[in-house]
């Protein structure tokens, strides 16, 4: 009889453990976000936010001091007054001191996770949350406004702004424009798939969004009208990028696209090895694209002179620029951050201990 009780209790514990482990594993899974200022690179990667010296690749600080039970994956962003803003899966938006990693303030009024990075303007942080809202927060962490309406779904990508309006996409296949001062809706538009990344502003009042439905849509920022829909071979994960001439986007089949933003110029494509999950990075006339297969591609802005470097692990995160360095955060390859120059040479790598 005793054995039966023990067996029953054992089974219950196993089941509970499996379910608990499963839940934890699922919630704690994503890829890191990276940004940099002139001194440090900042990585939001799982249980910590790390600052790494750009010259040496040595860790400067990490936040919090003890591993957080709730992870950080949203791309960190810097304010003009030197704060590092990063959201966590614990529904909190943190401001950290870039020199020491000390916490300046916490904004805790959101109801869900911070998946995407924030937009920082001269005086406001526009933070998108999975609770279907955008929060406008001051540099002291006080709420200026929250969108007075709920978007149709979670917001995973950082918004963009032209000074008048703030633009963002949702998982519910909608693009919204809201007034930058009040958060009131200006227009909304439906596209063909969920928007997982950030939109990008182009020339002549045009907004570009990549969709999970496999298209790059351009919209009029004035009224939301769809101007063009470029069909891609698979879904576009993170948002596109632009260099003033072309808008660039990669898809899950590893196809990389350049579409001219004006009538001049020709579109071009490059087939790369591995799914393109992160956004492209534009550094002058060089376009950098990282793929899931662990390759980092460098090409000029005509799609020529393609060269690549293979890193260990997979790359899902958008690469970040730091002066002449390209910062790449691989997943599962051992290194937390790798710094490359524009020739593809590895300058240093950092592994979080």
């Amino acid at each position: 009889m005793k054995t039966k009780y023990l067996l029953l209790i054992g089974l219950a514990l196993v089941l509970g453990g499996l379910l608990g482990g499963c839940a934890t594993g699922l919630t704690a899974s994503s890829w890191p976000g990276v940004t940099a200022d002139k001194n440090n690179a900042y990585i939001a990667g799982n249980q910590f936010v790390y600052a790494v010296n750009l010259q040496t690749g040595v860790e400067v600080w990490r936040f919090p001091a003890k591993a957080s039970s709730s992870p950080f994956y949203a791309t960190p962003n810097l304010t003009p007054d030197g704060q590092l803003i990063v959201g966590g899966f614990d529904h909190k938006l943190y401001s950290l001191n870039t020199q020491s990693g000390a916490q300046n303030w916490v904004f805790d009024q959101a109801k869900d996770r911070w998946i995407g990075g924030v937009l920082v303007t001269a005086d406001t942080i526009y933070a998108p949350n999975a609770d279907y809202n955008i929060y406008a927060v001051s540099f002291t962490g006080t709420l200026k406004w929250v969108t007075p309406f709920q978007a149709d779904q979670a917001i995973w990508g950082a918004p963009v702004s032209d000074g008048t309006n703030v633009y963002f996409g949702t998982l519910g296949r909608h693009v919204y424009a809201v007034n930058a001062q009040t958060g009131r809706e200006v227009w909304e538009q439906t596209v063909n798939g969920a928007i997982l990344g950030s939109p990008v502003l182009g020339l002549n009042n045009t907004l570009y969004v990549g969709t999970y439905g496999g298209e790059l849509a351009s919209l009029n920022t004035g009224n939301g009208q769809i101007l063009q829909q470029q069909i891609t071979s698979s879904w576009i994960w993170t948002g596109p990028a632009q260099d003033g001439t072309d808008v660039y986007a990669g898809d899950a089949n590893g196809m990389f696209y350049a579409f001219p933003m004006t009538g001049a110029g020709q579109p071009w494509t490059q087939q790369l090895n591995g799914a393109i999950i992160g956004s492209p990075l534009v550094m002058g006339t060089t376009i950098i694209v990282a793929t899931e297969s662990g390759n980092v591609y460098f090409m000029d802005n005509t799609g020529q002179n393609v060269r690549s470097v293979a890193l260990t692990g997979k790359i899902y995160a958008t690469p970040a620029a730091a002066g002449t360095l390209v910062l790449v955060a691989p997943t599962g390859g051992g290194n937390t951050l790798v710094a490359l120059d524009l020739t593809g040479a590895i300058k240093w790598s950092y592994t979080a201990k």
Binding site: C22, L26, S29, S30, W31, I115, Y212, W235
Partner: protein
């Protein structure tokens, strides 16, 4: 292996049901539970048959005589018990096998629910890659995780005067208790170890599942509640439900064997 055999098919069936019914994930979980119960019904019927036989065995004069005879010799008692099992065509594990099968199903379903709801980019990327080609994933994502007052991807609470009341956990515990009681084989033999085990199960299982409902995503609670109600219905269909057992202080009048004799 686990992913290929259990989690991925479960996720796809859930998504297929979700698509067919027009985008209600709560209903999809309920229909999926019914489907699982229909598929495992032969096992359930066999379990009922086996536990009835086991109850009869525990109350049989033969077994009671053997118990008296070999009171001081545990080894001989066990040997005689096995012989009697063989003679009467009873498999001691047949009654608990269907319950054990539930464990991987619960685990698989929980993973499938969390996977289908894809609450982070990495989860969505995984989901995108495990969905079979006949399902238009870009049209299905994101799933509507709201069902009645619940977010199916989060533990459930009903807020009353600022306090979060775990209503679903209470319903899970209650339906589990009712199911255990009304489907428990009647026994009057005070030494019936099986009956004692069943009584303990009727007490602990509601607490255990209630705790799971309190802690884990409410989609799992929907599975538990639906499963409990269907379980009662399955027993009722086979004429094995004893509604009086839920009345406090209820005591069975006679043993099954005595009545058959």
């Amino acid at each position: 292996m686990w992913e290929t055999i259990i989690v991925n098919p479960f996720t796809n069936v859930l998504l297929l049901i979700y698509k067919l019914i027009g985008g209600n994930f709560g209903i999809a979980i309920i229909l999926f539970t019914i489907l699982i119960r229909v598929i495992t019904h032969p096992l359930m019927a066999s379990q009922i048959k086996s536990s009835t036989k086991m109850t009869q065995f525990q109350q049989s004069k033969q077994w009671q005589d053997i118990q008296k005879k070999y009171k001081g010799d545990k080894e001989k008692l066990a040997q005689e018990q096995m012989n009697l099992y063989k003679e009467l065509g009873i498999s001691p594990f047949a009654s608990c096998l269907p319950s054990l099968i539930q464990i991987p199903l619960i685990f698989g379903l929980y993973q499938s629910i969390m996977r289908a709801l894809a609450a982070s980019p990495a989860q969505l990327l995984i989901l995108t890659r495990v969905v079979y080609s006949f399902l238009p994933i870009s049209n299905l994502v994101p799933l509507n995780s709201q069902f009645l007052w619940m977010n199916l991807g989060q533990p459930e609470r009903v807020y009353l005067f600022g306090f979060g009341v775990p209503l679903l956990a209470v319903i899970v515990a209650l339906t589990t208790y009712v199911q255990s009681k009304v489907t428990m084989p009647a026994s009057t033999n005070p030494g019936d170890q099986g009956a004692m085990m069943n009584k303990m199960m009727a007490l602990y299982m509601p607490l255990l599942l209630g705790y799971f409902a309190l802690t884990f995503a409410s989609g799992l609670s929907i599975y538990f509640i639906t499963g409990n109600l269907i379980g009662i219905a399955q027993y009722a269909l086979l004429g094995k439900v004893n509604w009086r057992a839920v009345i406090p202080g209820y005591k069975p009048e006679t043993t099954v064997l005595a009545r058959n004799k």
